[in-house]
Every structure is written in structure tokens, then in C-alpha cells.
């Protein structure tokens, strides 16, 4: 998006934050559990993927951190905030680096984001529970991250293509 007025930037940021909060809520309504505990779609990450192409990196971090704190206080607890924060920050960092390298498509970037989101959460779990036993979960979580990342990437791409006309 070309640089526009400050108020437009703030409005866009507010809208994305509201959207990601709503998506966090929608996620709690979806009963799909994929048969494996701890695995979910990560709908709120859709906003991060879209934001990657719409707002600056600084704003993206701010967006993710505010979203995690707000949704954590509303729907979760201290532990879930820690998990989401670690996942969010690492996945944004990885996606940002991949976008800077400028080789991957949005699908690849989203998949890498999904994988690293899960890995970061696993590392936090290792620290909190003080055990390395959770490494058994790594293969499952990597595959899950790839799948959900791909899905989020596809949706994010379609949204990005369509909202371009709105931002003229």
C-alpha cells in the first residue's frame, strides 16, 4: 500500500486489530479439533499474513502483541498469552525475513510462519513444564503448521488480491 495520511494508517491498524480479535473469537466457536490436542487453525494469523503486505513491520509486531494480550485476557489465561506471544513473535520474524529475501510466494511464507509458530510454542512448553519430553510432538506440529499455514496463505492471498481495489 502506498504511504497515505496518518489517520488512514491508524484506521487501517485499528480495523486489522479488531478483525484479528474477532477471528480469535470465531476460532473458539469452531469445534474442529483435528483429532490431536493443541492443534488449531490459527485464524488470527490470517490477519498477520494480510498485514505483511499492507502495513509496516513495526506495526505488524504491535498488531500481533496487542491482539495476543487482548484475546488472552478475554478468552485465555497467562499461560496461553505466553504461548501465543512466543508463537506470534517468532512467526512474524521468520515471515518478515522470508519476505525481505523476496523469493517465496505468500503461500511459502505463510507455511514457514505456521511451522515456526508451532515450534516457538513447543519451546515455551519445554521451559514451562521443564521437560524435553515434548519433542515427541515436533513432527506432528511441523506437519500441522505446514497444513494450516498453506490454508491461511491461500485465504490471505485471495483477500489481498481483492482488497487492493478498495485501497485506491
Amino acid at each position: 500500500m502506498p504511504s497515505q495520511g496518518k489517520s488512514k494508517k491508524i484506521a487501517l491498524f485499528g480495523m486489522l486489530l479488531a478483525l484479528s480479535l474477532i477471528l480469535s473469537y470465531v476460532e473458539t466457536l469452531i469445534p474442529v479439533s483435528f483429532g490431536i490436542p493443541g492443534i488449531k487453525l490459527g485464524l488470527a494469523n490470517l490477519i498477520v499474513v494480510i498485514g505483511l503486505y499492507q502495513i509496516s513491520v513495526k506495526e505488524l509486531y504491535l498488531l500481533s502483541i496487542s491482539r495476543v494480550l487482548l484475546s488472552g485476557f478475554i478468552f485465555g489465561n497467562m499461560a496461553s498469552i505466553l504461548y501465543s506471544l512466543a508463537g506470534g513473535i517468532l512467526s512474524i520474524t521468520v515471515m518478515m525475513v522470508l519476505k525481505k529475501i523476496d523469493k517465496n510466494s505468500v503461500l511459502g511464507i505463510s507455511m514457514a510462519g505456521g511451522v515456526f509458530h508451532n515450534l516457538a510454542q513447543l519451546i515455551v512448553a519445554m521451559i514451562l513444564v521443564e521437560t524435553y519430553q515434548v519433542v515427541y510432538y515436533i513432527p506432528v506440529l511441523i506437519v500441522a503448521g505446514l497444513l494450516t499455514g498453506l490454508l491461511i496463505g491461500i485465504i490471505g492471498r485471495e483477500v489481498c488480491v481483492r482488497i487492493r481495489k478498495v485501497y485506491r
Binding site: 507455511m111 513444564v129 521437560t131
Partner: protein, 126 residues
Amino acid sequence: MDEKHRKFNRYDVYVIFLSLLICGVFFMVIMNIQKKEADKVVIKVDGEVQGVYNLEEEQKIEINGGKNILQIKDKKAKMISGDCPDQICVQHKEIGKNRESIICLPNKIVVEIQGKDEGELDAITR
């Protein structure tokens, strides 16, 4: 987003390939660990060992003063009740192979199967 970032390209295949490679490596490591024979059940709460039990004796063990109950039967351990909200540990299938574990995150409980020649080694290797 410009045109070239929309289509799946070969760098995206690298992402998948690398992820699956890491996945495979961990899978092999896990398979190797599980080959060893197991005969002990170690229960840890908040990282500290609470008790070591024989996998061959049938028994019910109360953890955290009855918050969670672990059942050992037919050389397998299963969490039969817990007061945690998500009940993931209770839904977990029974464990009996070496290094398998049931983890209850809300109550910080780790139940782990260990082999004959292991045990306190875990505390030393860092």
C-alpha cells in the same frame, strides 16, 4: 502483493522439504529411543520427581493429593482422572513404551516411561 508472490513457486517447495526433513530427523530419533525396553514409570510435578513406580505392578497412584489419578495395568499407564479443564491428559492413550509420556500442562504433571538402565541420568545430562 505483486503477481510473482501469488503463485506457489520452487522456493515454497524448499520450505516444505526442509520442514519435512526436520520432521523426519526427529521421527528417527524418537523411533530409536523407543526401541529400548521399559519397566519404570516416573512421575514429575513441576519438574521435580515425585515418585518412581514399577510398570509390572497393577496399582492406582494419586498425584498432587488426588487431583490426578494414574492407573498402571498390563504394563501400561493411563491417566484415569484429572481436575484440569482441558482433560487432554485423561484423553491421552495409555503408554507403555520406553520414553512415552503423558503431560498435563495445567497441573504441570509429566508421567514418563523409562527403561531399565536409565533413571537419574536425566538429571545429570544437561
